[in-house]
Symmetry: C2
Subunit: 330 residues, 2 copies
Amino acid sequence: MNSKLIRLASLPIGIPQVANFHFGFEELATIKTGELLLKTLYISVDPYLRAKMAGGHKPPLVAGDIVYSRAVAEVVDSARPEFKPGDKVLGFMEWRDHLIHNGEGLTVLNANGLPLSSYLSILGSTGLSAYFALTDIGKPKPGETLVVSGAAGAVGSIAGQIGKLMGCRVIGIAGSDEKVEWMKSQLGFDEGVNYKATPDIEAAIARLCPGGVDIYFDNVGGIISDAVINRMNDYGRVVVCGSIASYNDTETEMGPRLLPLVVYKKLLIQGFLIADYKTRFAEGIGRLQQWVAAGQLQYIETIMDGFDKLPEAFIGLFQGKNEGKMIVKV
Amino acid sequence: MNSKLIRLASLPIGIPQVANFHFGFEELATIKTGELLLKTLYISVDPYLRAKMAGGHKPPLVAGDIVYSRAVAEVVDSARPEFKPGDKVLGFMEWRDHLIHNGEGLTVLNANGLPLSSYLSILGSTGLSAYFALTDIGKPKPGETLVVSGAAGAVGSIAGQIGKLMGCRVIGIAGSDEKVEWMKSQLGFDEGVNYKATPDIEAAIARLCPGGVDIYFDNVGGIISDAVINRMNDYGRVVVCGSIASYNDTETEMGPRLLPLVVYKKLLIQGFLIADYKTRFAEGIGRLQQWVAAGQLQYIETIMDGFDKLPEAFIGLFQGKNEGKMIVKV
């Protein structure tokens, strides 16, 4: 069988271009004992892949590598007893429309009343990142003020909603008036800032958060984070879940020094990696499912159709083309 | 009785100058019920006072204020039952050679076999800051690598020694070859860096910490911290105890952005304030006393003689004139 695949043709400089990717074909052998033949159904595209291409996120992706990310696939043929044809599985997979897999790290998915793509969004590492990063590092208390950057994105749109469920006042920062309006009307955020139309972001945060900021859930870094961190209250927590503004930097970017603020305000700034919470995934999924079932948590997906759209979908992450989680349907 | 006192004459710009201070005199009234007459014995000068003059450390010190800090005094006369003449007391006091005090926040000191100045150094907030900041935020584990900046200073010289007691490899950064030699020979540090003679601090840290840095105990901020944080291991902890390099800045200083590193390396960066540990002071003092009594912990003081030396002693903190805790004997 012929497998379509996508390699990184060259390391991007700045924002990735379609030319950084190369489509190829490979004839798949017949599966051997211990192997599975999978048909890919949904592939997740995520900002951290850009960080892998820059070498910051380990292991790095280098030119010539087949790109890989989390995906949902269907088992077509199995030479492993724990998987049978028709099973839907979740795991890290190469960007291929069909692939041979040794089964390592794959989970068989149960029907959960939601579309299969939900395992890449609300019930996958996206939802789990929002839940654990906010609750474990941010430690929200009722009445506190939470600011979320990248608030219309995959993790941010969930983190802000969980903040509301935990009694916080939530202010989201996003890149268009439509996104701000949508966060307020659909996700229940209290306030929003369109950073592209706001020359002085710090003044906007000061106006919308007159009592200061207790928790900053950061997906973007850069000048947006400078502005929010300047408005933090004493003992504020900065949850660093991503830093998309920096992933495309070609050299070390300069910004105002943070350490004086850290000591003056007794801030906590902590980086987050979802893989560290593996032993608690069941707890997180249970909580997220409960909220979704009760209609208290909206999960938002932007699904692009067709394997060939993978580079475009990935690049779109840096152009603000997604609301919620960006997923490609193969 | 005539009291000599020191006011902040003007807010310093950059490094404080003697001209920023003004010596005055005030006739003290006879004490009333509830008051004490104190004779100051030792006064602590600390970098955070500069941060108060810049408004970063609250409450700020403004022009015209009598400067105040922690001090040890002797009770000369008392109209409060819990204090009697001859008692030695510790607390925040204005920079005066004699003063009237309402007793609030004062602790009567017991003889501990150490000089009275020890209550401003190893058994005071200096030693307690080193102990709680390192153990509570840094969470040292045997075999880990600890880098201390401002390592010949009051808090740094103790933090490094406690790191050794907890089984860490300890590298100190200080401002002269003499200080480096002293940290290694007297305090038991494994290695040291004289940052003034080291053009590439990051390369020096890389060479001395081939396995990376697990804990960075930071008293200084600025380019020294940039260098160390670049060499942190995944899940490294940055204990921000002070930021002396920034206290004299007249505008926001720029530096390489930290947030991408925080997310790539899952770092924790946290500011520290000793006042938050009030309920645990007895525990900390007990631990420190035990180590000192066992000869495992050296406490180092630079004592300048005479009330009039207060401004000079304070300014000396920014010129690297102290080894260990800077104290003025009145």
